[in-house]
């Protein structure tokens, strides 16, 4: 990695469609303001298209020799606001480290910025948001140097971003409007940046080839173990788990030429699978209800504190 990279301005800033929609979803489903961290990576833009057609009359010249692109690929939202900084916007490194450790982030994910969503407020960075952005970019540098976990030289500082969101709806909630604006931290100021969306389609093929999605999925206790053990199990056992009660012989019959005779068998297989899915859905429903009731409980406690009943 080049050491002069930090001096280079961002040539292009993009966000993957699913990431943006999931950020918008997090915001629109929350009652009030939200904040979180942005993950992504810094890459060299693919060089301009090379034409093997020698008759091509024009020659392309890149504006800078090593244009860099920043892609936002994932995010996490915190459960409350003002969770890792003080009223002056100074980062509480200990809390931040604890949050990051608790979040079980993939080792290759890089924090490239943070986000804040607030309703009924202008889409300009506030006093504290700038302070947090600056302080966060500094403390991440320190964390990085302290941990020495990255292979990159410490002279490499990725650009730092701030994503500001706002949302509003008509009084009858028929139309919801979502707005977002990305900012790049430059010399203690936040400069607005245009941000392109990466979507599926022929126009995005190039980006898609160089695109690797990473999303920090909040791992729930217990499930994590299941997933790990799943990988360790032999193929046969895995198949057995999925197709419970169906031996290999029984399955082979279904795949053969005489499969048509075994429609009842197939239906039985699906019924079992559906049953499994159903019980899974049920447990998801129960745990969601628990989470929701806990959230309501928290909301009540906060309201009580604020003197609202």
């Amino acid at each position: 990695m080049d050491t002069d990279l930090p001096n280079q301005p961002i040539e292009k800033l993009s966000i993957s469609g699913p990431t943006l929609s999931s950020i918008l979803q997090s915001f629109s489903s929350s009652h009030g303001d939200i904040e979180g961290l942005l993950f992504g990576h810094v890459i060299h833009l693919p060089p301009p298209d090379l034409h093997d057609d020698m008759d091509c009359s024009y020659t392309t010249s890149a504006p800078s020799p090593n244009p860099i692109a920043v892609i936002i690929t994932g995010h996490i939202c915190f459960s409350s606001i003002s969770s890792f900084y003080d009223p002056l916007g100074r980062i509480d490194s200990a809390t931040l480290t604890r949050i990051l450790e608790g979040a079980n982030l993939p080792s290759n994910s890089t924090i490239i910025g943070w986000l804040f969503g607030r309703r009924s407020a202008p889409l300009r960075p506030s006093m504290r948001e700038l302070s947090v952005t600056l302080s966060l970019s500094r403390s991440l540098k320190t964390l990085e140097t302290n941990n020495q976990r990255s292979h990159q030289s410490s002279a490499f500082h990725p650009p730092f971003l701030f994503l500001l969101l706002s949302s509003s709806s008509t009084p009858n909630h028929a139309i919801h409007t979502h707005e977002y604006r990305a900012f790049e931290l430059k010399k203690k100021t936040l400069v607005p940046r245009s941000m392109s969306l990466i979507n599926v389609g022929p126009a995005f093929r190039e980006q898609y080839a160089s695109f690797a999605a990473e999303s920090a999925f909040p791992l729930i206790e217990g499930v994590e173990g299941d997933v790990k053990s799943l990988i360790g199990i032999k193929k046969n056992q895995m198949l057995d788990r999925i197709a419970e009660g169906f031996g290999l012989d029984r399955l082979r019959k279904m795949a053969g030429s005489g499969a048509s005779q075994y429609t009842t068998e197939l239906e039985a297989l699906y019924t079992t699978m559906l049953g499994n899915l159903k019980s899974l859905a049920r447990s998801v429903e129960i745990s969601s209800a628990n989470v929701a009731s806990q959230e309501i409980q928290n909301l009540k406690l906060r309201s009580k504190f604020a003197g609202l009943d």
Binding site: S28, S30, H31, G32, D33, S80, I81, S82, D86, P87, L88, G89, R90, R118, R119, S120, A121, P122, R124, P125, S126, M127, R128, E129, L130, S131, L134, S169, P171, K188, T189, L299, R302, F305, A306, G307, L308
Partner: protein, 375 residues
Amino acid sequence: MSVKAPPPLIYSQIKYLSTKSPLPFKIEQLRSGDKIGKHSDRFTLQIPFCLDYIKWDVIYNAQYPLVAPDFIFSPEDEDFHPLLFGDKGRTRFEMGSLCNWNIKDPSRLLLVVNELRKKYLDYQKKRVAELDDDRLKFEISTLLSREGLEVLLLFASDRPQEVKFAIPLLENIPLNKIVQCCPWKQEQKIYLQAIFPITQKYSAPSAPRLNLVCTSELKIVFSIDDVKLPIWINGMCMAEYLPNLENSLEAQILAAGASIGARRRFIEALAPVFGRPVEADSVYCRRATVLVAGTFSFLVHFALTPQFPKQQPILTMQSSCHFTSQGTPISSPSLRTYPWSPRWEPSIMVERIFEYIGEELLTFKKYCNENSSQR
């Protein structure tokens, strides 16, 4: 969407800010940051600054009442970063009220806003001092020592065009004391507003636009709009201009104070001739009304200007017996051309007015009969 009340703790801070401060803050667009709009927790704050208002958005969070409010400044002040100034220790000291935020303290928001306003003033002064204009550099260096000076860079089509100075005048005269038993809670002030155009390189500096401004209550006893400003001579600077202005202004303020005493004596002199006034302004002595009773009863209103006794009272007669078709009593036009001398004793002034009213009586009665609705 209808405006919902802010949560009690936030409300008490907003109320303290708008009622307990000597500066008249205005709260606008109270709104909710909640999806369902249950509680208002953000608003636009109009802050008096440099004889104008600046607008900041104040963002509280009703769901997290412990969290300190945040501020969004106007787009022209995009490089105003009060939390990034200087070293960390200084910011913590200067923004102490925000650093040790406490939602349960009603005065806390006002303290934070005042701290920010102070930082904003420093920011504006720094901006003006950095302009490439030698005259303005000189003006600001000579004026900086004046207590209470405020400056503001004025933009037109995204570029700084002018600099506005609000220069407090007569700081050594307690203006509140010119009225006896002063009812004013707010400290009265007089400012010279000077707007300097920013001079382009190699062009001659043009004269500033000058204007006197005072607090609204002072206008009741002192008509600031009638003050004639000394002429600004080319090549002059504020340090030369201000002493002259302050001297003439001081004399006029003292005269305004003396006028209140003269008006009071005039109103007191009404009683022996007209009988006790039905109504009288006992503080500023700007108005009095007497009743003339008889077969034709009517009221006489006296309006006294701050230039009394130089300017004679404006009289209006109002009938108690004649009404228009709308049911309002018929009044005469304002009477201001009757015999008058500012050198007369108050008792003579009142007697002469009494005689004049006696002469006007028949004309007014005729006027009433012509204009009243026939019943």
